[in-house]
Amino acid sequence: MSVIHSPSAAPSPIVDFADAASCFVIDDLTLDYAGKPALSGLTLRIPRQRVTAFIGPSGCGKSTLLRALNRLHDLNDEAGRQGRIRLEGTDIHGDEVDVAELRRRVGMVFQAPNPFPMSVYDNVAFGLRLQGIKRKRVLDEAVESALASAALWDEVKDRLHGSAWALSGGQQQRLVIARTLAVQPEVLLLDEPASALDPISTLKIEELIRGLKSRLTLVLVTHNMQQAARVSDYTAFLQAGELVEYAATDRLFTNPRLTRTENYITGRMS
């Protein structure tokens, strides 16, 4: 009597979304640096207006994958690529694609807060001014709205013209998010956005991520598995440049399908 039987062949480790629900469609993506492979044959879809987390040990390729989504890896001359990434149906490496415009649509926030050496206001207005917007009233409104979206307005409204560097680390990180939001992106890529922050600032960032989900697609890279478990809807586990398991976060953290995933998220030797 073998009602609960043993594993058969492992099915493909992919959760799938229809085209209509997908923001990014990544198709057999392989990336290398100077011939050294960083990602091999990744195929996955990232759902629109959801939070998707990439987790995995250092060097697994999760940051590489994140950076590929707005072509930051192009900045490295030695980077090679095969396969395709489509954003809302359009190949992001297509000839007609304007990389600056791609990076406006797909904003990025890094681990260490990196406000520019200027006032809070000028930081947020920076991207808009680059776009040629000069009217003070338009800028004022956009700055306030971006700061409010980043849950920072109440804390900085009386010091908009003070230096951004005078803010705390957590405030600086939210300022950077506000600066990114000001140019109305569709996607926000977050690379370890809270790893340099204290627990309270971290929770504020996580709350912000949850709040932004109604307007944006968010993709998060984190070493902190509890953070992935707390904020994401879907989690992809990468190891050695491969996508091991990709599942609804609830499922991945309570009952992962694969032993490699289980070992990683529960802190076992593998």
Partner: protein
């Protein structure tokens, strides 16, 4: 993925391994005590041993204390380790299991109380044959459920789940014959009612053993089969993990 009984000893943190190992050890110790309580309560009844019945009654406090202690350990692991996946399922399964074991302890206590009053009335009651038979059946279920827990054995757990239906029908037919005895001899009503309470307690112990077995399946497979029809489980694909 399927887990085995040594899955929880492979963490990078040895301290965490030890904490999870302790949970399992303490749960098994509680299970052992509860098994002994059932065995003693039934022996006290069948042999008319009032002192043994009193000892069962006194030992119930020890069972309760073990539940509190293990639950506290589980709370500590949840707070300090934020366990995930099979570790999380182990902690949840242990919390649920202590609650059922404690209730089994309560049922053993009820059996001992009724054994005491039967011994005091000095009547040899009808229905002891049924009690002996059903008690052996449910004791096996409890033992198998605990073994399945210790070995992470889902086949054995499923066997326990299936046994519960058999106990339920044995209980129903025993009750029917006891009702017949009462109609034949109204003077026996008081003592037969005591025996009926005992049978009822045994039937409840079977239900709790069934629950324990279900937690084993949850623990190993990540599948919650409470409130499922065991016969439909055959068709469901409970495997397919690798």
């Amino acid at each position: 993925m399927d887990i085995t009984s040594d899955t929880h000893s492979q963490h990078i943190s040895n301290q965490f391994n030890q904490e999870l190992e302790d949970l399992k050890t303490h749960l098994m110790a509680m299970g052992g005590l509860v098994e002994k309580q059932i065995q003693d309560a039934i022996a006290a009844l069948l042999e008319g041993d009032s002192r043994l019945a009193e000892r069962v009654r006194d030992n119930d406090t020890a069972v309760n204390d073990m539940q509190l202690k293990i639950d506290e350990e589980c709370t500590r692991v949840l707070a300090r380790r934020q366990p995930a996946a099979s570790d999380l399922r182990l902690v949840l399964a242990v919390i649920r299991a202590t609650s059922d074991l404690e209730r089994i302890g309560d049922e053993a206590n009820k059996i001992a109380r009724n054994a005491l009053s039967l011994a005091e009335s000095g009547r040899s009651a009808r229905g002891f044959v049924e009690v002996r038979h059903i008690s052996e059946h449910v004791r096996n279920m409890v033992r198998d459920a605990l073994t399945a827990f210790a070995r992470f054995d889902t086949e054995l757990a499923l066997k326990v789940v299936r046994e519960d239906d058999a106990v339920d029908s044995e209980y129903t037919s025993a009750m029917r014959s006891l009702v017949t005895f009462m109609m034949e001899d109204p003077r026996s009503i008081t003592s037969i009612l005591s025996v009926m309470w005992i049978l009822r307690a045994l039937e409840r112990i079977g239900d709790h053993a069934d629950n324990l077995a279900e937690y084993v399946i949850y623990l190993v497979k990540g599948l919650d089969i409470r409130h499922s029809d065991v016969d439909t489980l055959d068709e469901r694909d409970l495997g397919s993990k690798g």
